[in-house]
């Protein structure tokens, strides 16, 4: 009877035990005992097998999808100069393009088991090497952008939802939606013109300066950080609206709850009620979004990377599809789809741990 609803939520992020979600089980929801463990295993089985089926479909479609889009890799390899039929035949043989489609398909299936994804049509390197080389660059860009977007979006969304109808809410939701709707390539160019050309604050292109950077960790670190600012901000500007909207609507839902009234009755400051009581409860959907986006950080940011010539996986994909460099496209497609599927699976599972209500209803 004297339950303090405010205690239902982990009081602060420092409460490590709070992350397990077990200590704050609301009435009516059983703790995971042997019965619920079985239920959990069944849940896990369903989710994992669903993910596995998706992955298999992805693996097969990767073979067909890039052969259906057309294009002539032989011409792309030959260069500007036209080729004799002999040259063309030589390249086709080297790439294995003269083989019947069935043979190519079995080669592909074999490569799935041997994990040998082949060599790039263009530069004869292992496609896995190309991918691993670019992956850290992508993680740096998309990871930074995700942190910025999530941090900013949650902060704005929480404040906007807390004071619905206020100028802050209207203006911030409007701004974030406008940025969400802006084409990335256009926004990127505007950002470049303003911050690089007019103000001269940041470099236009790439990840490293061509000249004037001393050897050593710190000069290189500063140079890369300097190049990172605009692409990361551009990408964050485009995606942070998702967090704003989800956080805002979650907070709106929480606002009428009794535990907040109780907290208010206790005399807590408005800010504290929002920050310590409402926000942690409202964070759940946002956590799911972050988990989903976690997959996206591996996928690169095709448009952002292309505009800023950021040498990540998105740019690699763009470069590959112009050829089309089929072995590289296959690997990237499977990697992108695979990480997304795994991130979805991860989101499903952690959501169950984080939100007892899901456990109760599933």
């Amino acid at each position: 009877m004297a339950i303090d609803p405010t205690a239902r939520v982990p009081a602060a992020p420092t409460g490590a035990a709070g992350t397990s979600g077990n200590h704050d089980t609301p009435p009516g929801v059983g703790r995971p005992g042997s019965g619920s463990r079985r239920e959990f295993l069944r849940f896990l089985g369903v989710k994992v097998s669903g993910a596995a089926v998706s992955l298999v479909l992805v693996l097969f479609s990767a073979f067909f999808i890039f052969r259906m889009i057309g294009g002539d890799p032989v011409r792309a390899i030959g260069g500007d100069a036209p080729m004799t039929p002999e040259q063309r035949a030589e390249i086709e043989e080297r790439l294995g393009l003269n083989e019947p489609m069935t043979v190519q398909f079995w080669e592909y299936v074999r490569s799935l088991f041997t994990l040998d994804w082949g060599t790039s049509y263009v530069n004869n390197q292992q496609v896995t090497t190309l991918m691993w080389d670019r992956l850290p660059n992508t993680l740096l860009l998309t990871g930074t952008a995700l942190v910025l977007a999530a941090g900013l979006g949650i902060w704005i969304g929480a404040r906007a939802g807390w004071r619905p109808g206020s100028f802050f809410e209207k203006s911030q939701v409007g701004i974030s939606l406008a940025l969400w709707s802006a084409p990335t390539f256009w926004l990127g160019m505007i950002v470049i013109i303003v911050f690089s050309v007019q103000l001269g604050l940041f470099p236009v292109n790439g990840m490293r300066s061509g000249r004037g950077v001393a050897d050593g960790f710190w000069p290189q670190f500063l140079d890369v950080s300097h190049h990172l600012v605009l692409p990361a901000l551009t990408m964050a500007a485009v995606i942070y609206a998702q967090y704003v909207l989800i956080m805002r609507s979650s907070i709106l839902e929480e606002r009428g709850n009794d535990y907040l009234t109780v907290a208010k009755a206790k005399g807590l400051r408005d800010d504290v009620i929002r920050r310590r009581h409402a926000v942690p409860n409202a964070l759940l959907p946002t956590v799911t979004l972050i988990a989903l986006q976690f997959g996206a950080i591996f996928n690169g940011a095709l448009l952002t990377e292309t505009i800023f010539s950021w040498p990540g996986l998105g740019l690699l994909f763009y470069q590959a599809i112009r050829v089309p460099d089929i072995p590289l496209l296959q690997l990237l497609f499977v990697f992108f789809a695979g990480t997304t599927i795994l991130a979805n699976l991860f989101a499903d599972i952690i959501y169950r741990f984080l939100d007892p209500r899901v456990r109760g209803t599933s």
Partner: protein, 647 residues
């Protein structure tokens, strides 16, 4: 009890918590400010370490190149890099593209034109100090004859060789089967000589990818190639033909031309080319940027399907039968106002087209003179009437008397080339004056090329970069270039075949006398102009711009008002001089422009880079101060508000 709890809770919140949190918050704010500030400050710190001179050239398409094997180069950019790292046997001169000494100082041929003797420059050395000898040349030509990949690229020249001998270190003798005009230049910059003492040990030279630090014969060595990003070359200090005036050359890749333009304005790259007229006009107004334009070699064409077929005459594709008639093509030629196209498409930065050889190759260029095809719909209509196309259908479109089909042609244009979208509207309107209908169809480049190769088109847009050796371009209209099997091919232009033309082609190839050969080449161009398998709309000027606060003295080819990039050689880059080292001896145009744009130099110590960066530090400092002040204000306001709430 409850009340006490509330009070205690409230008290804790009011007093202890903010106090305890303050250091953390301050630390967080400090960190948040320090990190961006350090990032903002980075360029200032970086500029101090800028002691080497690096010429950075922005380009698109660097990610296309599969490798940097100099003997298997199909891309223009590969050619550009080869020119920086290797010297050919015979160069195309900077003045007028005529053959001039490279690794070879002089050459001569026997009376029958079948034995050619080349004398190598005894001073020429590889960058590792080894001499460049006739043995290196023999090794390379043998490789081109024996290796199928290399032979695919260079067979046109070397398959005519019967023997290649180095009679001593400096004398190379080549015997050939048929007299060939190509021997007078050995295909110029298309073929580079490789060091036998290194390449002799490479097991599969066609798999050579481009290794840093390999000995070269040119002004630069490869230092680093980050694929899809940039290529970095370092200058050879004791380059035998005279080292360049700077330390490094970087070719930096850009995905979009717009970003490249912005990078030039921001001072990140020093030279860019292949601008469109709008970008060029915008850069003309920019500070510290000097624009440069000169006649280029890229030509824009309209290609007809003159009857796609195999060498045996088997028809392929679905071209309109009326376009096999030269009268129809000539009539269309009469309504294409090339002067106007130059204005609308290139803002005047182009030369109206005539034939496949652009005017910069003055030895072979043909002036139409009296044979000029006048722009006149009346003449076009008269030609069609005289040729029997005088019947019209209900829609008023002329009818082909032989097939009975209306003269309604497909016009394929590239959807990714905005200029074509403008040009095609004019062409459709002009051709309509002949009572001929053009249905314009936008296509991606790949399907457009595929349709063209298979003969599945009527008229298509096309572009071509002719080299200084006219044979390499004119061969595309010979009957030999028709496919032997009914399969797609990109080796022919327009599927044209004319025995008279072929006879002239063979004659010029066997002619060693330059004047006599030029006459034949001009005759061939006249024939193409009249028969019109293609309409050459215009030759684009090369539109370029560079940072004239940093660089001067770029060499152009031709030397009088030519282009800097995409040369047949590396004159443009090799002559470039950092302004800080120029000492006032730059070329006139550059000096004038640089002076106009320059901020006053204090003491003759130009150091454009450091001056520029020094001035550039001010906004950084202002920005850092603004951020700190803003953060302070924010904290203050926040404290005030918290105080209010406490009360």
């Amino acid at each position: 009890m409850c009340s006490s709890t509330r009070l205690r809770g409230t008290r804790i919140t009011m007093t202890t918590t903010p106090d305890m949190r303050r250091p953390f918050r301050l630390a967080a704010v400090t960190l948040a400010l320090t990190l961006p500030a350090s990032v903002l400050a980075a360029p200032v710190a970086l500029a101090d370490s800028d002691e080497t001179h690096t010429l950075i050239v922005g380009t698109a398409g660097l990610d296309n190149i599969p490798h940097m094997n100099p003997l298997d180069s199909g891309w223009l950019i590969q050619g550009e890099l080869n020119n920086l790292m290797y010297d050919p046997m015979i160069r195309w001169s900077q003045d007028d593209y005529s053959p001039s000494p490279g690794l070879v100082t002089e050459w001569d041929f026997s009376d029958d034109g079948l034995t050619w003797t080349y004398t190598m420059n005894p001073d020429a050395t590889w960058s590792d100090g080894e001499p460049i000898t006739a043995h290196d040349a023999k090794f390379t030509y043998d490789l081109l004859m024996e290796n199928p990949v290399f032979n695919g690229r260079h067979g046109e020249l070397v398959n005519n060789f019967t023997s290649v001998e180095a009679t001593d270190d400096h004398t190379l003798v080549i015997e050939i089967e048929e007299p060939s005009a190509l021997m007078a230049h050995l295909n110029g910059t298309s073929i580079m000589i490789m060091p036998e003492h290194v390449w002799g040990d490479i097991e599969n030279p066609d798999e050579y990818h481009g290794e840093p630090g390999q000995p070269t014969s040119g002004a630069f060595e490869l230092a680093e190639w980050r694929e899809g990003e940039f290529v970095r070359l370092t200058a050879v200090e004791d380059y035998w033909a005279g080292p360049v005036a700077y330390d490094e050359f970087i070719l930096q890749n850009f995905q979009t031309p717009e970003a490249m333009v912005q990078a030039l304005q921001a001072g990140e790259v020093d030279l860019i080319g292949n601008l469109n007229p709008q970008q060029y006009a915008a850069l003309e107004a920019a500070d510290h940027v000097t624009t440069s334009t000169g006649p280029g070699r890229r030509l824009q064409s309209l290609n007809f399907n003159v009857g796609a077929r195999t060498q045996d005459g088997e028809e392929i594709g679905d071209g309109h039968p009326a376009l096999r008639d030269p009268a129809v093509r000539l009539a269309i030629h009469h309504v294409i106002d090339k002067e106007q196209l130059v204005q609308v498409a290139m803002d005047g930065h182009a030369i109206p087209g005539v034939s496949l050889v652009p005017p910069i190759f003055s030895d072979y260029y043909w002036e139409p003179g009296d044979e000029f095809i006048e722009v006149s719909a009346d003449i076009g209509n008269q030609i069609l009437d005289d040729a029997g196309y005088d019947e019209r259908n209900d829609a008023g479109v002329r009818i082909d008397p032989e097939s009975g089909e209306p003269l309604e042609f497909r016009l394929h244009y590239h959807s990714d080339r905005p200029t074509y979208a403008i040009v095609k509207d004019f062409i459709v309107d002009w051709v309509a004056e002949l009572d001929i209908v053009l249905n314009d169809i936008a296509m991606d480049t790949t399907p457009l090329n595929e349709a063209g190769d298979a003969g599945n088109y009527d008229i298509e847009f096309g572009t071509w970069n002719p080299g200084p050796e006219a044979t390499g371009t004119l061969v595309y209209h010979t009957c030999d270039r028709l496919p032997t099997e009914p399969e797609p091919t990109d080796l022919t232009f327009a599927f044209y075949c004319n025995e008279d033309y072929d006879a002239l082609f063979e004659a010029q190839l066997a002619e060693s006398d330059l004047e006599a050969r030029s006459e034949i080449l001009r005759e061939m161009q006249a024939l193409l102009y009249e028969e019109t398998p293609s309409i050459q709309m215009y030759y684009e000027n090369q539109l370029e711009a560079y940072n004239s606060e940093r660089w001067t003295n770029f060499g152009t080819q031709p030397s009088a008002g030519g282009m800097i990039r995409e040369q047949q050689g590396a004159f443009g880059y090799e002559a470039a001089t950092p302004v800080s080292m120029d000492g006032g001896s730059g070329d006139d145009a550059t000096d004038d422009d640089a002076t106009d744009d320059d901020t006053p130099a204090d003491d003759g110590e130009p150091a454009a880079a450091s001056d520029d960066d020094g001035a550039g530090a001010t906004p950084w400092i202002i920005a850092a101060v603004v951020i700190v002040v803003a953060a302070g204000v924010l904290l203050f306001v926040r404290r005030r508000r918290t105080a209010d709430e406490r009360e």
